[in-house]
Symmetry: C2
Subunit: 186 residues, 2 copies
């Protein structure tokens, strides 16, 4: 390990946080004179996993505010509703696969949605382990109310991108997603 160590360090300090709270010189009292020095070069703000995480969080926060403030829904609840709006009658396991959610997350989201009378469970006579899920009338109303807002947010987010850039974006996401999955599977 430790391939190409010992390059330069701290070459470009990157933009200051804000005027007056510069790069910690004031805070650094150097209680340890022989304080060690990092020899590797690493810029978090340019690191793709970090950048993706930041972007995803910012976007999620924006769109989640709509679900939450106007409909009292969490992101996981919204995802379940989105799946059930499109695929009425599927089981929790199907929702799990379609929304890439954890088994437990689906189970709990469904329970909350049932409590809120947005989803109903239907027993399956053939296989009593399986429980068919579908939106109630209220659930459908919620779904129909949220969908245009979700689309609107997405459009505003993409507003600055050309059609070609949008296509490239989708392609890049697909490629990276497949690649990341492959790497995770070692």
């Amino acid at each position: 390990m430790n391939d190409d160590a010992n390059r330069k360090r701290n070459a470009s300090p990157t933009a200051p946080i804000r005027p007056g709270t510069q790069r910690g010189h004031a805070a650094d009292t150097r209680s340890t004179p022989d304080a060690p020095i990092a020899v590797q070069d690493f810029a978090l703000e340019a690191f793709l996993p970090y950048r993706l995480s930041l972007l995803s969080n910012t976007v999620s926060e924006g769109i989640a505010a709509t679900y939450r403030d106007e409909h009292g829904l969490s992101v996981t609840e919204w995802r379940v509703i989105a799946i059930l709006g499109r695929f009425p009658g599927v089981t929790a396991t199907d929702v799990m696969a379609r929304a890439a959610m954890d088994k437990v997350a689906v189970s709990r989201a469904v329970s909350r949605l049932v409590d809120k009378s947005l989803v109903q469970r239907n027993e399956n006579a053939q296989d009593r382990r399986r429980v068919g899920l579908r939106l109630t009338r209220r659930g459908v109303r919620t779904f129909n109310a949220v969908v245009p807002k979700a689309h609107a947010y997405e459009q505003r987010l993409l507003a600055e991108l050309s059609a070609e850039e949008r296509a490239t974006l989708n392609h890049l996401i697909d490629t990276l997603q497949a690649r990341a999955r492959g790497l995770d599977a070692e």
Copy 2:
């Protein structure tokens, strides 16, 4: 609200989950004959916020496995180390801004890192509220050990993309990030 409602529904069911567990027909026992029907068209798997979240999670999981398994670090702990490796002596508030982390998250990550002897706190004589943070020798060793692995993961992730595609990716992320921030600020 409810802009352009009443389009078609469920036009293309999208690929089946897997053979035998098709689209919930078996599970749907229709206990409610007049079960309502979703009139909006919404494909979660094509929804950008969802796609970004999925990608970010997959990527995070992959890279986080390295921190965790080989160095016992959480993602937040790694981020603090990454900042301190580059900007020794900064305060928790600086880390917060540089890593886009919550105040509380930084505070707790720093406490854990101090417990692990990877970070040390240095009191500031001028302003006793501020605490300068820097990596210990062990912290630097950890930093230097993780950085090449992080870079390697990033390179493997990007392996299939051309230089031009990488540039486009960065540009798209920047654009979307700025846009998302703008939207969040209403």
